[in-house]
């Protein structure tokens, strides 16, 4: 039995925050879960994927977050407890569904996991999705540690059923990816089947229906507010004259700072875990017991502004500060030191933080940015396209490992926005310029949001080339399947879609499928696409070598070496490919045998044929 399925209340385990959420869903008797993976949320669906069949609930990786949201909503209106998980920018995709599911409501608990990414560890922006609760009217919970990530998940299902509304749990990267002790609770029975009772004048949101539904949503706000006022997750701790308001992971920094500074007696902490609706009465009570307030929240001044507004309406005139004090800004995540030092600044204390070592004499170190792996087929396709289109063409890119093609010496990315954005922006670039355009998109991203944009390109007759980098998996987020992946080896029964058939079905006239590791053929495909007047698509098809290893389809590794007698030091291999398996040793080009996977691309690029397979 999977450890997370054990019916062993009281058992304590060190769990990843995301595993704690998955365990919470299991304890709550979840019947359906759906997701599109995205860092830092991916280990939640991955955990579900590893155990859902054994547990007896339904799980799917959906095509995108909007679809995933609708799938979960479909279950929840049918009386089945459901969960949908996504990263913060996924919520943008899902938001169309979110806004109206809030009107329609649910008949069984529906929990939305939203993972924000302050400091942009693996994202294109650091938007603060607490605003989505304000926008949609849906309650929001914010846990502080692994134990709460599990507990709050269970509680969120109950709150959702009380209010008949989906409930959003908002986490941040540091919570998703921490490991902490989690005590198991009892498991509720899993019930994967419900019944949809027809009620079209509730569920079909024509204006006449939605006018009433909006009224009900506003009424539910009052009910949700009462729950928030009395929630155990909204606590006033201590009775000092100095007030601190905090949420999420920052609560830990505050607790540690108060201890480090030895000011426990002087502080009152208001911790907001049921953070929307914001508990007005509780806040008023807190404001009336303290002399001044520091609001400690990462990213936007959401609580700060709302608390200030409550103070104004209650005619409470004490100072309430947050952003702009000490080291607090709207940028990036906080940490224990930032919080400790800013508390010290605001309350006029001397800071006891240890002094960082003097690093002025440390030499400049070579960068170590993330990079395409040795043998990555994306590198080979980038090389082929660059040989044909050069540096003048515009290269719109998309979200995935291949975004790393932006780094020199490949330098094969000029604009990258969002999922599917390469194709859409290529349409506009084609309409607004006379420059050559080659857009790049991954296979999973193509299914996620590339298809509507490609339809647009076909219909509106935009002239560019789209390269679909099909490596047979969702690589960046941890090798999840997508609609083009045969999941039979994973023991899952799904239908596999052919990207080529989809592209041809959309009416693209020039389509070519090529293995990018065959360099001449890949260059020929790029040349043919360039010569074709109109929209062309190249499908660059080769399995991600990391994934190939996992599914045991890896080619036999036969590493290559550089024959130093033949090498004339053109350095094309290093300067044009920059494969991490290659390095220089006293001016000689070398290949690290332990990293080379024998893709042979460098051997085809070498003008002297000096790169050869090692003889066994």
């Amino acid at each position: 039995m999977h450890t997370l399925l054990e019916d062993s209340p009281g058992k304590e385990m060190l769990l990843l925050g995301n595993e704690a959420i998955a365990r919470g869903a299991i304890e709550a008797g979840i019947g359906l879960a759906s997701s599109y993976p995205g860092t830092p949320s991916s280990e939640i669906p991955d955990t579900f994927f590893s155990l859902y069949q054994e547990a007896g609930f339904y799980f799917e990786y959906s095509t995108n977050e909007k679809v995933a949201f609708e799938v979960a909503a479909g279950a929840a209106v049918s009386g089945v407890r459901s969960m949908v998980t996504m990263k913060h920018v996924g919520m943008n995709v899902a938001s169309d569904a979110l806004m109206t599911v809030a009107y329609v409501g649910v008949n069984a608990g529906m929990v939305v996991i939203n993972a924000d990414d302050p400091s942009l560890f693996s994202s294109q922006n650091e938007q603060d999705n607490r605003y989505y609760s304000r926008l949609s009217g849906l309650p929001m919970l914010e846990p502080v540690n692994a134990q709460e990530m599990k507990e709050m998940t269970v509680a969120a299902f109950d709150i959702s059923e009380q209010l008949k509304l989906p409930v959003i749990i908002r986490t941040t990267t540091r919570l998703n990816h921490l490991r902490g002790a989690v005590k198991f609770g009892p498991k509720r029975e899993i019930n994967p089947k419900g019944f949809f009772k027809k009620d079209p004048f509730h569920y079909v949101t024509i204006p006449a229906v939605s006018r009433n539904l909006h009224k009900e949503l506003v009424k539910k706000y009052d009910q949700a507010l009462e729950l928030s006022e009395n929630s155990e997750y909204n606590q006033i701790i201590g009775n000092g004259a100095w007030g601190i308001v905090t949420n999420g992971v920052s609560m830990n920094y505050v607790q540690d700072a108060v201890k480090d500074l030895g000011i426990g007696e002087k502080i009152t902490i208001l911790r907001l875990g049921f953070s929307y609706p914001i508990p007005e009465r509780l806040i008023e009570k807190f404001l009336r017991t303290v002399e001044k307030v520091l609001v400690i929240e990462e990213l936007e001044p959401v609580m700060e502004n709302e608390i200030r507004s409550i103070a104004q309406s209650k005619e409470i005139g004490i100072p309430i500060k947050g952003k702009g004090v000490g080291l607090f800004t709207r940028l990036y995540e906080y940490d224990p030191r930032i919080v400790r030092q800013t508390i010290a600044t605001y309350f006029g204390l001397s800071d006891s933080s240890p002094v960082m070592v003097d690093s002025s004499e440390i030499p400049a170190l070579p960068g170590r940015p993330p990079n395409l792996c040795a043998g990555c087929p994306h590198r080979a396709m980038y090389y082929a396209v660059k040989q044909v289109y050069g540096t003048e063409a515009i290269y719109p890119t998309d979200i995935g490992c291949y975004t790393l093609g932006v780094l020199p010496p490949l330098s094969m990315a000029d604009i990258g926005l969002c999922m599917g954005g390469s194709v859409g922006s290529a349409c506009g670039l084609a309409a607004a310029t006379d420059q050559k355009i080659v857009a790049f998109i991954g296979d999973s991203t193509f299914f996620h949001a590339g298809i509507p944009a490609l339809i647009n390109a076909v219909h509106n007759k935009h002239n560019f080339t789209l390269v679909i980098l099909d490596n047979g998996t969702t690589a960046m987020t941890g090798h999840q399947p997508h609609p083009g992946v045969d999941t039979a080896p994973m023991g899952v029964d799904t239908k596999t879609l052919s990207i080529e058939s989809v592209v041809r079905g959309l009416g693209v006239e020039h389509v070519e499928v090529v293995n990018p590791l065959q360099v001449k053929k890949a260059i020929a495909a790029a040349r043919a696409a360039k010569e074709f007047e109109g929209l062309s698509v190249i499908i660059s098809k080769e399995l991600c070598p990391l994934f190939a290893k996992v599914v045991k389809k890896a080619r036999k590794v036969r590493p290559f070496y550089v024959d130093q007698d033949k090498c004339k030091k053109h350095m094309d291999c290093i300067n044009l490919l920059a494969c991490p398996a290659m390095y220089l040793d006293k001016g000689r080009t070398m290949i690290d045998e332990s990293l080379c996977i024998g893709c042979a691309v460098c051997a085809q690029v070498c003008p002297e044929n000096a790169i050869l397979p090692l003889k066994k």
Partner: protein, 197 residues
């Protein structure tokens, strides 16, 4: 309970995520509060991987600049890069085997001289334990057991309140059985190297 803040830094694939998880699990098994922080996703593609372990009476999952009690570097230039995590009381444990990033090959930077790097670190912290972790891992029979060597060195340094036995039990429970023998051997080699100074 005294708080101990650990920073483990390495390059994607060197196994510091597993090492930090094992420390966390050993603490939980021994009834010592611990919280671990990991970085997943884009940062792992051949880039720098930092994990933090906070043991004892603190709940923050991450370690700020200047606040590490122990810095464990799996690659010497990365140890040097993470020196900003240290203060004059930090104990630094580092592998000395270089793994130059590809930027060096394409002429975008110079890899530091190892002896100079070690001297720079040594002059700024309480103590420095340096060892050739890759060599010890090879001696243990598995190149991939570098993380076990580094764990052994951590326990050998005596800085954290965890005994040799507690960590070995966790290794036995939470790592692949096929590698158990070489893992334990690698752990022992790291432990002895650290104790020998």
């Amino acid at each position: 309970m005294e708080t101990k803040r650990l920073v483990l830094v390495g390059v994607g694939g060197q196994g510091n995520i597993l090492a930090s998880r094992l420390v966390g699990e050993a603490c939980v098994a021994a009834g010592i509060p611990a919280v671990v922080s990991e970085i997943h996703g884009m940062a792992q593609r051949g880039g720098i991987v930092e994990t933090d372990v906070v043991i004892g009476d603190a709940t923050s999952p991450i370690v700020s600049e200047g606040e590490a009690d122990v810095l464990i570097g799996f690659e010497p230039s990365e140890t040097l890069r993470s020196l900003n995590k240290c203060n004059e009381n930090t104990v630094v444990i580092t592998n000395v085997k270089p793994l130059p990033p590809f930027t060096v090959a394409i002429g975008q930077g110079t890899y530091p001289d190892i002896d100079e790097a070690l001297a720079l670190i040594k002059a700024r912290v309480r103590s420095l334990i340096s060892l050739n972790g890759d060599e010890l891992a090879e001696k243990a029979g598995n190149l991939l057991s570098l993380n076990m060597v580094m764990l052994g060195a951590l326990i050998g340094s005596g800085v954290i309140p965890l005994g040799e036995g507690a960590l070995k039990e966790t290794i036995a429970k939470s790592t692949k059985q096929a590698f158990l023998e070489s893992n334990l051997k690698a752990f022992d080699l790291g432990l002895s190297a650290a104790r020998a100074g």
